[in-house]
Every structure is written in C-alpha cells, then in structure tokens.
C-alpha cells in the first residue's frame, strides 16, 4: 500500500497563474442553446474558465507561478534542489518539460528535474514524490509545479468536457523543516479502467494518422477526433463518488482524524455537483470545502493548488491549518493527503 508518513517537511507556499483570456459559459459556446447552457452551468458550477492561446503552454503558467512564489518567499532559485512538473500537456513529447523549466527558472545544473504524466491526481502524486525526495534523498528544497492546458486536449464542441475544463499553472515549495508536522499521503491506481478517461490516439500505441485526427461522431455520440480527450462521464462519476469517497473515508479513519479535526477539505475541482455530493457523503460542512471551480473550471493537476492559492490569498495568514487534499482522475489514479499548513504563503493568482 502506497501510504507514507513524511516527517520534517513543510509546505511553505503555493502560487497560481491563469491565462488572461476568459471564456464565459453563459455567453460563449453558442453551439449549445442558452437554456441548456444555464442548466449545465448550474450543475457544474463553472461560470467561466481561462483558456490559453496557441502560444501559451502549461510550462509558461507554471513558470509565472514559480517566479511569483520564489520572489514572494524571497527564496534564491539557486537553492532549489529539485523541480517536479506534473502535467498532461508538456511543451514537447521529448524531453521532460521540467528540464526546460530548470533553465527558464534559473535553477542550478545540480537540480533534479523530471515530469510526472498525471492529471487530476497529479498534485497529490507530486507531493508524494517531492516529500520522498526530501525525506529519502535528503534534499532541502523541492519546487513542485502542477499545470495543464487541458482545453487544448478537447474538441471545442464536445459539450461533455468543454463546459468543465480550464487552463492553469501552479507552483508549490516544499522545504525540509525540523519539527514540522507529519504529511501523510496515500496513493491508489486502477489502470484497468484507464480507457474511461483518455486520449485514444496520437501516442505510440496508436500513432497519429489522418484518420485519428478526423473530427467525427464517435460511438458514444460525442463529436471529436480520437486525438481529443474522451471521458466516459458516468464511469468517472461512479469512480469519483464511490471509490474516491471510500478511500477518503478510510484514510480519515486510519489516521484517527475526524471532520472536527480537519480545517478544510481541498478536493480536485471535478464539478460542483459531484464535489458537493462527495463532501456531503463525508459529512464535511460547505464552509470547510473551498472551491475555485466557479471562476477557473476543472484545471486538472493544477486544481488543488490553484484552490489553495485562491483560498489562502484572500484571508490573513493562518497558523496550524489542518487540511485534507484529494485528487482523482486519469489513470485511473487517486490520492489523499493530510498536512498542516502553517502560515502558508499564497500570493494572489496572477494572469499571463
């Protein structure tokens, strides 16, 4: 079981960056009748989202977030030991975008840098790796970037995904810190269900061809190509509202936690209807469940840190805030983390 307890590690700060371009679901997406758009918005809770233009990559958003974070924390980039980027939308198929970001962020050549190809569980998986590098490899400072430009993975008229997803990049700094409270992380995977949320073609299993690029009605009735993101909505709903809920509930029990002892539950921003159901099932009151989905949409691996940044940048610094985090999605992969945030630094979300 991939559950680990990390000692002496502090999450120092989280920053988020989003593209300038806003898409308003109620006024845009005219291919859907206005009444339907209203219903969809009421259900998903996504009023608007940010969309990256052709030149803007997830790495650019993460870079902006990282610069804002390091500057605000007055951390010299030369003191970063490792850089991890969680993304499904890298700059190039080869090499890891983390390598490019090492140079762009002016980190030293001694930096360990690699990508994690994960989606909505990416932040929790990234935290696990970052914490493992500090505890296991003795590193002092790890910069965890999580970001996606998922709108580029979707066909613009696929209403199953276009009303949910948005683009964002984030940066989180983890540091070795004696006396810090334990960070507990549990990760889970079920690759048997991978094909409920994936891009069917364009990789090496099914290389890109004229046929796989053709936009047409797919067997499920959706309009897209085989190189666009496919989601089996009901299977993903079942996965999120049953497997993930059970895992979070079991984690709470095993760690002898309770809703009273947790200050906030940060869920991957899947959609508001589903997240409300998950929170209710776990008996979390709404005031303990922050959201960013209303203005940024479901931002993939960025969604948890973006919600952290959005939430903590709007309130005075908080001491010893105990938070439960859960990311779930492509893979299928999911994870739960428990951490104490002590006066975490979160600058306002910036625009690129």
């Amino acid at each position: 079981m991939a559950k680990s307890v990390f000692k002496g590690i502090e999450i120092k700060g989280v920053a988020g960056a989003v593209p300038k371009e806003k898409v308003d679901h109620l006024t845009d997406h005219q291919f859907i009748p206005p009444e339907d758009r209203k219903k969809i918005v009421a259900l998903t809770g996504v009023l608007e989202y940010r969309k990256a233009g052709p030149e803007l990559c997830a790495s650019d958003l993460c870079r902006a977030a990282a610069e804002s974070l390091l500057q605000g924390l007055q951390v010299d980039p030369r003191t970063i030991d490792a850089l991890i980027l969680s993304t499904m939308t890298p700059d190039y198929r080869v090499p890891s975008t983390a390598c490019l970001l090492q140079e762009r962020l002016k980190l030293p050549n001694t930096t360990v840098a690699f990508d994690i190809n994960m989606g909505c569980s990416g932040f929790v998986v990234g935290l696990y790796n970052a914490a493992a590098l500090i505890q296991g490899a003795g590193l002092k400072r790890v910069l965890l970037l999580a970001g996606d430009t998922q709108t580029k993975l979707c066909y613009e008229r696929d209403k199953n995904v276009v009303f949910l997803l948005g683009d964002a990049g984030t940066a989180t700094l983890l540091e070795a810190s004696e006396g810090a409270e334990d960070i507990v992380i549990e990760l889970m995977t079920d690759g048997g269900r991978f094909n409920n949320l994936f891009v069917p073609a364009g990789g090496f299993r099914r290389p890109s061809t004229e046929q796989t690029r053709e936009v047409k009605e797919q067997p499920d009735g959706g309009l897209r190509s085989e190189e666009h993101l496919y989601m089996n909505g009901m299977e993903i709903f079942k996965f999120s509202s049953t497997d993930v809920v059970k895992s979070i509930a079991a984690f709470i029990e095993k760690e002898h936690l309770s809703v009273d002892r947790i200050d906030a539950l940060f869920l991957h921003q899947a959609n508001k209807f589903m997240n409300d159901k998950i929170a209710k099932k776990l008996q979390f009151p709404p005031e303990k469940v922050p959201y960013s989905i209303g203005i940024y949409g479901n931002t993939g691996s960025a969604s948890i840190p973006l919600t952290l940044a959005h939430h903590y940048s709007k309130i005075p610094p908080v001491e010893k805030n105990k938070v439960l985090l859960s990311g779930f999605g492509v893979g299928l992969s999911w994870g739960v983390a428990f951490a104490e945030l002590n006066r975490i630094y979160c600058p306002p979300v910036i625009e690129c």
Partner: protein, 81 residues
C-alpha cells in the same frame, strides 16, 4: 396523489428536462434509446428531480439510475416513499 399519478408526474418531469415528448419514454428506455440522455444530462435530470421533489439521491443511486427509465423511476419513487 395516487401511485399512478405520481409515476406520471415523474415521467412528465423526466420528459421536460430531457426535452423529449413523454410518449417517447418507455419503462425499458435506456440512455442509448433516448436522444439527450447522456451522462451529463443524467446529472441535470438528477439535480432537477432533487430540486423539484425535495429529495436527495445518493451517488451510488445516481449511477444505478443510468440504466433505464424503469430504474430511474423506481429510485425516485422509493425516495418519495
């Protein structure tokens, strides 16, 4: 309200939300048989029924209801007790 009237009300609301004629909806109608009944619209349906009837449908039930109209209706009727 009789059981029959209640069932009719469920069918009417189902038809209104899906924007399909009520006569098109049969007990055996599955999502594949009815235009508009996709996974997204299913959540719109559930949300609409929760609001209209003041009921709360559990996540497991939401998944179960995405089988055919008979199952959808039976879960709603069970909730209405």
């Amino acid at each position: 309200m009789t059981l029959g009237q209640m069932e009719n009300k469920v069918k009417e609301l189902f038809a209104v939300i899906l924007q399909r004629p009520a006569e098109e909806i049969q007990d055996a109608s599955a999502p594949a048989d009815l235009e508009n009944w996709d996974s997204f619209q299913h959540l719109v349906l559930v949300s609409g029924f929760e609001e209209e009837f003041g009921i709360e449908i559990e996540p497991e039930e939401i998944a179960e209801m995405y089988k055919d109209f008979r199952t959808f209706k039976s879960v709603v009727m069970r909730k209405l007790g």
